[in-house]
Symmetry: C2
Subunit: 131 residues, 2 copies
């Protein structure tokens, strides 16, 4: 049924990762950018923040949607999302980069977004006035 | 079991929304910022992009995690995520703002992130050298 969806959304739950890496905003930004490139994504912008006393939130906006990460170093836990659209995307390659970079244990859940939308009649729009 | 999770992640699927609104990056940014404020979130940064010929991707990074939106105006469809942590967050208020703003039909799915992590022993870290 994946062909019927507009987007693929991977939910990654990661435990037992290196807490020092989970607290390093720069290293996590480089890792997610590497994952985005491995997935054949076009990176538009990345925003990463370190929180006190520890923890990082980061977003990589890609032309094909986004990657996000939120970390709790004190629990050695990270929540990662990879949301993509487009047939050229290689999500598995992105997951491999993240798994290799963070270590620990990973659980994956995939959600099809916009499931069934293509069954409805697509409506080309005259939107030139917008945006 | 929600008390055992570190984060609440709402997946919103929206159909039959106004296609012109779904193509208006500025209006969608204002809507998600309004939703973030309604949820008691602290907004750190927002990044919104319009794609050719139509469609918008947007991210609002909040201190409590993120809100994202990706739209397919030609299908009158939007995929929204609201990821939060912290007991003061009012996700239902954010959903109400989004539902009122976009109209159409909405399906919600909630995922508990970091489920069970608190059961493990929390490990305060000496991370002063990091970041």
């Amino acid at each position: 049924m994946r062909e019927q969806a507009l987007g693929r959304h991977l939910i990654l739950e990661i435990w037992d990762a290196d807490p020092h890496l989970l607290d390093d905003a720069h290293a996590l930004e480089q890792l997610l950018l590497q994952a985005a490139r491995a997935a054949n994504a076009t990176v538009i912008q990345s925003v990463f923040h370190h929180f006190s006393p520890y923890g990082v939130s980061g977003v990589v906006v890609i032309a094909e949607s986004h990657l996000t990460i939120h970390t709790w170093p004190e629990y050695r836990y990270a929540a990662i999302d990879i949301f993509t659209c487009g047939p050229k995307m290689d999500l598995e390659a992105a997951v491999e980069v993240i798994a290799a970079g963070l270590g620990g244990r990973m659980v994956q859940l995939e959600i099809s977004r916009g499931q069934g939308v293509r069954r409805a009649q697509r409506q080309p729009l005259a939107l030139s006035a917008a945006q």
